[in-house]
C-alpha cells in the first residue's frame, strides 16, 4: 500500500471568506468545537498573557537595575514575581503548547478533528476562566480590605507562608483556585490528545510511522496525567487548611511544610518536561525540513522522549537539596537527575547528526531552532551543575538558578515557540510572516536574551538570592543587574517587532500556498488555512514522511523503512 494523498484543490488565493461582523466572529469563537479554532484561541490567549507576564518581568528588572531602588514597594514586587511565574507556567507555557498540539496533531495524523471536540472546548474555556480568575485577584484579592492585591506567596507557594495567619485576605485563594481549575483543563486536553493519537490515525500510520511531534505530545500528555494530580490534591489540602481547620501544612499544629514541597515538586518537575517536550517536538519537525534531511535516529528519538518522561518522575527532590533530606536522599536525587542528561544528550546529538550532511536553509524559523539547540545545550550543562547536590547548596535559590531555568524556558522553549510560529503561521493563516522582520526579531532577541540571561548567572555566583525586591550596594551585584535589566529592554523591543510582524503579515503577508517549506508531513497536504474538515478524503500513508514519498517516487521512504523495519509485516501490506 503506497502513500495516497488525494490532491486537494490548489489554492493560490486564501479561500474567500465573506467579511463578518465582529459579533459573528466572537459567536464563532464561543461556540466552536473545531480543533484548529480552539488551537488558535489557546495560542491567542497565551500570547495575551505572555505580554502581561513579560511586562511584569520588565517592572521587576527596572526595580533591580540598581540597589536600594524605590521603583516599586516590596509588597508589589512580591506580587509581581508570583504572578510572573504563575502566569508564564500555567497561562502562557501550557496553553501555547496545547494550542499548537491541538492545531497540529489531527492534521499531522490525517484526522478531521480531535477525539472529543466538545471536551476540547470545555478544557479551553475552563483554563481561560482560570487565567481571568487569577488576575481578578488584583481587584478582589483582599476582599473587604478595599484595594486588591495579587498573590504574593511565590509561584511554588511554600507552606506555611500560605497559611491564613501569614496570608490573610483572599489573594492566595485566587491563586489556589486558578491552578485547580486550569489543572482540570490540562487533564482534559491531555486526555484528548492521547485518545486522538491512539484512535484516530489515518490508514497506514502505525505508531512506528507516527511523526515525532504527536509522539512527543503523547509522552507529554502522559506526564500531565501523573503531574497534575498531586498539584490538585495539594491545592485541595491547602484550601482545607485555610478554611476547614485541617493541619496538612499547618506547622504550628504539627503539619509539615516539607510535605507541601514534595507534593508541589512531584508536580513541578514533570511540569518542566511537560513544557520542554513540545519544544523538542517542534525541533523534530523543523530541523529536518530546513536541513532537507530525514530526522536522524527516529527510534532513538522516540525512546529518548519516553525515557525522559519516565525519569522525570523521579527527580523532583532536586528542588529540595537544601531542606535537610539527609545524605541518602540527596545522593539518590543527584543520581536520578544526572541520568536524565543521557536521553537529553541523545536528542542533542541526533539533531546535530540531522544537520550533518544536510543543506541547511537559514530561514527565520531555522535560526530560532538553531538558537534553541545552542541555548538548550548550555541550559543542560548548568542543569548538570545544579544536579550536583553540594554545588546546589550554593547555587540553589540564587540568581544562578533563575538564570538556569530561564535558559530552559526562554532560551529553549520560547525560542522554539518562535520557530514554530515562523514555520506554521503560513499554515494557520494562509500568509507568510515577513522573513526580514523575522531575522531582525531573531538577532535582537538573541542579543537581549544573552545579555540578560548569560550575565544573570553571575550575581548568583556572587551570592545573590532570588526573590529579593532590592539588594545591598556593597555586594558587587550592581553592574550585573544593570546589564541584565538592559537586556530585558532589548528583548521587549524584539517581542514588539514580532507582534507587529504577526499583525502586518496576517493582513498583508505574501500568500503561502499549501506547502511553502517543501515539507513532508500531512498538514502540508491541506490548503492554508485548512478547511474545517481538514481532509476532503482521508489520506493513506506508507512511511513517516508521506509527502516525501509523493515528491520523490524514485526514492520513497517506505523502501528504506522496509529494509530497516520488519519486512514480513510490510510485505503483508503489499508495498
Amino acid at each position: 500500500m503506497a502513500t495516497q494523498i488525494p490532491v486537494n484543490e490548489v489554492h493560490d488565493q486564501i479561500a474567500q471568506v465573506p467579511r463578518r461582523l465582529w459579533l459573528e466572529v466572537l459567536h464563532g469563537c464561543v461556540t466552536t468545537v473545531d480543533h484548529k479554532k480552539i488551537g488558535l484561541m489557546y495560542i491567542g490567549y497565551a500570547l495575551i498573557f505572555l505580554v502581561i507576564a513579560g511586562f511584569e518581568a520588565l517592572l521587576m528588572r527596572i526595580q533591580l537595575a540598581i540597589p536600594n531602588n524605590h521603583f516599586v514597594s516590596p509588597e508589589v514586587f512580591n506580587g509581581l514575581f508570583t504572578m510572573h511565574g504563575t502566569t508564564m507556567v500555567f497561562f502562557v507555557g501550557m496553553p501555547i503548547l496545547f494550542g499548537f498540539g491541538n492545531y497540529l496533531i489531527p492534521l499531522m495524523i490525517g484526522a478531521r478533528d480531535m477525539a472529543f471536540p466538545r471536551l476540547n472546548a470545555f478544557s479551553f474555556w475552563i483554563s481561560a476562566f482560570a487565567g481571568f480568575l487569577l488576575y481578578f485577584s488584583y481587584i478582589g484579592g483582599s476582599g473587604l480590605y478595599g484595594a486588591g492585591s495579587a498573590p504574593d506567596v511565590g509561584w511554588f507557594a511554600y507552606a506555611p507562608l500560605t497559611a491564613r495567619v501569614f496570608s490573610p485576605g483572599h489573594s492566595t485563594d485566587y491563586w489556589t483556585l486558578a491552578l485547580l481549575l486550569t489543572g482540570i483543563g490540562s487533564i482534559g486536553t491531555a486526555l484528548n490528545i492521547v485518545a486522538t493519537i491512539i484512535c484516530m490515525r489515518c490508514p497506514g500510520m502505525k505508531m512506528s510511522r507516527l511523526p515525532l511531534l504527536p509522539w512527543i505530545y503523547l509522552v507529554m500528555s502522559g506526564l500531565t496525567f501523573v503531574a497534575i494530580g498531586p498539584l490538585t490534591a495539594a491545592q485541595i489540602m491547602l484550601m482545607l487548611d485555610r478554611y476547614v481547620g485541617s493541619h496538612f501544612f499547618d506547622t504550628q499544629a504539627g503539619g509539615s511544610a516539607v510535605l507541601w514541597m514534595h507534593f508541589f515538586w512531584i508536580f513541578g518537575h514533570p511540569e518542566v518536561y511537560i513544557l520542554v517536550l513540545p519544544a523538542f517536538a517542534f525541533a523534530n519537525e523543523i530541523i529536518p525540513v530546513f536541513s532537507r534531511k530525514a530526522i536522524f535516529g527516529y527510534p532513538a528519538m522516540v525512546a529518548a522522549s519516553v525515557g525522559i518522561g519516565f525519569i522525570s518522575l523521579s527527580v523532583w527532590a532536586h528542588h529540595m537539596f537544601t531542606v535537610g533530606l539527609g545524605p541518602g536522599g540527596n545522593t539518590f536525587f543527584t543520581l536520578a537527575t544526572m541520568i536524565i542528561s543521557v536521553p537529553t544528550g541523545i536528542k542533542i546529538f541526533n539533531w546535530l547528526a540531522t544537520l550533518w550532511g544536510g543543506k541547511i536553509q537559514f530561514t527565520a524559523s531555522m535560526m530560532f531552532a538553531i538558537g534553541f539547540l545552542f541555548q538548550f545545550l548550555i541550559a543542560g550543562l548548568t542543569g548538570i551543575m545544579l544536579s550536583v547536590a553540594p554545588f546546589d547548596w550554593q547555587l540553589g535559590n540564587s540568581y544562578f538558578v533563575v538564570a538556569h531555568f530561564h535558559y530552559v524556558l526562554v532560551g529553549a522553549i520560547l525560542f522554539m515557540i518562535f520557530s514554530a510560529f515562523y514555520y506554521w503561521f503560513p499554515k494557520m493563516t494562509g500568509r507568510m510572516l515577513s522573513e526580514r522582520l523575522g531575522k531582525w526579531h531573531f538577532w535582537l532577541f538573541v542579543i537581549g536574551f544573552h545579555l540578560t540571561f548569560d550575565l544573570m548567572h553571575v550575581p548568583g555566583l556572587l551570592g545573590m538570592p532570588r526573590r529579593i525586591y532590592t539588594y545591598e550596594a556593597d555586594r558587587g551585584w550592581m553592574i550585573w543587574n544593570l546589564l541584565v535589566s538592559s537586556g530585558a529592554i532589548i528583548q521587549t523591543v524584539a517581542t514588539l517587532l514580532f507582534v507587529y510582524n504577526m499583525v502586518w503579515s496576517y493582513f498583508k503577508g505574501p500568500i503561502a500556498g499549501p506547502d511553502p517549506w517543501d515539507a513532508w508531513t500531512l498538514e502540508w497536504s491541506t490548503p492554508s488555512p485548512p478547511p474545517s474538515y481538514n481532509f476532503a478524503e482521508i489520506p493513506t500513508v506508507a512511511s513517516r514522511r508521506p509527502l516525501w514519498d509523493l515528491k520523490h517516487p524514485e526514492d520513497p521512504d517506505f523502501d528504506y523503512e522496509i529494509e530497516q523495519g520488519s519486512p514480513q509485516q510490510t510485505k503483508k501490506e503489499g508495498a
Partner: protein
C-alpha cells in the same frame, strides 16, 4: 531614583565589579565551602569541555552544511540518512560514563559534609529564623543574641567548628553565608543542622535565601569569626545583664512602660518578650534592622519611630512616640553595650 545616581554612581558601579565580593561562592573561607568549591571546579571543567566539543560541532555543521547558491536552486536533496545504531550507542555510553564519574565525586562530598565527624569541643548554636530577623542562642554558654552571629575561628591545627541547629518560628527561611558553607533551610516543625568553621578572623556576609514574606530581602546575615580569645571575651560580656545607666533613666522608663517589653527581652528588667530580638546588648552591635543599616543613634531613632523607614513590612509597628520620648529611648538603647 535613576537620576539621583548620576555619573559618579555609575563610576562606582563599574568599579564595584572588580572589587572582591563579600559573598562570592568562589572565595571559600571554610571547609564546607572549600570542598564544594573543589567539586564545582571539577564539574565546571567537565561541562566546559562538553560545551566546547558540542558547540564546536554545531558551529562546524552550520558553516560546512549551509545551503549554498552554487547548489543549483536546491533542486537536488542531500542524501537521506536515517540513523546509525553504532554512532547512537557511542553517544549514549560516553555520557553514562561521565555521569558515573560525576556521581561518585558528588557522593563523596555529600557524605563528608553531612556525615562529618563532630569534634567533642564543637560549639553549639541554635539558630531560629523569624520574619525577618535571626535569633542566635548558645545553649552551652547561656548567651542569646540576634542578627550578628559570633563564632570562633577554626584552624587546621585546632579544629573548632560551630554546629548550627536550625528551625523556624514562622515561615521557611534559609541560612546562606556563601564563603563559609552552602545554604540550609530553616523550616518550622523540623530541625536541620549544618556546620561552619571560618579559617580566618573576619566578617562573613550572607542573607536569607528562602522567600519568607514581605521583607525577605532585608533579612541579612552577619557572621563574625573571632579569635578564640576575642570569642571568650565576647561571651563573657554577653552573659552580663544589661547595663543600668542612671543618666538614661527616662528612656528606660519609656521603654518599660510601652509595648516594647511585649516583644523584646532586656535581661535584668521587666522586658521579657520573645517575639522580637533580644536587646540586652543591642548597643554593642554594629548594625540594626537585621543588618540593614549601621547602628548609629540617628538610625536607631528613625527605626524606632517607624521600622518601615528601613524595612517596609517589618512586623514591629511604628511606636508613635513623641520626639522627646524617641530621643530618650534611643539614648537608653545606645547605652546597652
Amino acid at each position: 531614583m535613576f537620576a539621583s545616581q548620576g555619573w559618579s554612581g555609575f563610576a562606582a558601579i563599574i568599579l564595584s565589579a572588580f572589587i572582591a565580593d563579600p559573598t562570592n561562592i568562589f572565595a571559600p573561607a571554610g571547609t564546607p565551602a572549600r570542598s564544594i568549591f573543589s567539586l564545582s571546579m571539577l564539574v565546571l571543567s567537565i561541562t566546559a569541555a562538553i560545551f566546547l566539543i558540542v558547540a564546536g560541532i554545531l558551529a562546524y555543521v552550520l558553516v560546512r552544511y549551509r545551503a549554498r547558491a552554487s547548489d543549483g536552486q536546491g533542486e537536488q536533496e542531500p542524501p537521506q540518512i536515517y540513523g546509525s545504531n553504532q554512532i547512537e550507542l557511542s553517544w549514549t555510553v560516553i555520557p553514562i560514563l561521565i555521569v558515573v564519574m560525576l556521581f561518585l565525586a558528588t557522593t563523596r562530598v555529600i557524605y563528608t559534609t553531612e556525615h562529618a565527624q563532630r569534634p567533642a569541643n564543637a560549639l553549639d548554636v541554635t539558630v531560629v529564623g523569624h520574619q525577618f530577623w535571626w535569633e542566635y542562642r548558645y545553649p552551652q554558654l547561656g548567651v542569646v543574641t540576634a542578627n550578628e552571629l559570633h563564632v570562633p575561628v577554626s584552624d587546621h591545627a585546632h579544629p573548632l567548628p560551630s554546629y548550627l541547629t536550625m528551625s523556624s518560628a514562622d515561615t521557611d527561611h534559609s541560612f546562606w553565608v556563601p564563603r563559609l558553607a552552602g545554604k540550609m533551610d530553616l523550616i518550622p516543625n523540623k530541625v536541620n543542622t549544618m556546620w561552619i568553621d571560618p579559617e580566618t578572623k573576619g566578617l562573613y556576609l550572607g542573607q536569607c535565601a528562602q522567600y519568607c514574606g514581605v521583607q525577605h530581602a532585608k533579612m541579612l546575615i552577619r557572621v563574625y569569626a573571632d579569635t578564640p580569645q576575642e570569642f571568650t571575651v565576647w561571651v563573657e560580656h554577653q552573659r552580663q545583664p544589661a547595663v543600668d545607666d542612671p543618666t538614661v533613666a527616662v528612656g528606660r522608663d519609656v521603654f518599660m512602660h510601652n509595648a516594647c517589653i511585649s516583644c523584646h527581652t532586656i535581661r535584668g528588667t521587666v522586658a521579657t518578650g520573645r517575639f522580637g530580638p533580644d536587646l540586652t546588648h543591642v548597643g554593642g552591635r554594629e548594625t540594626i534592622a537585621s543588618g540593614s543599616v549601621p547602628n548609629t543613634p540617628a538610625n536607631l531613632r528613625e527605626f524606632i519611630d517607624d521600622p518601615a523607614n528601613f524595612k517596609p513590612g517589618a512586623l514591629m509597628p511604628p511606636m508613635h512616640l513623641d520626639s522627646h520620648d524617641l530621643d530618650a529611648v534611643t539614648a537608653y538603647l545606645t547605652t546597652l553595650k
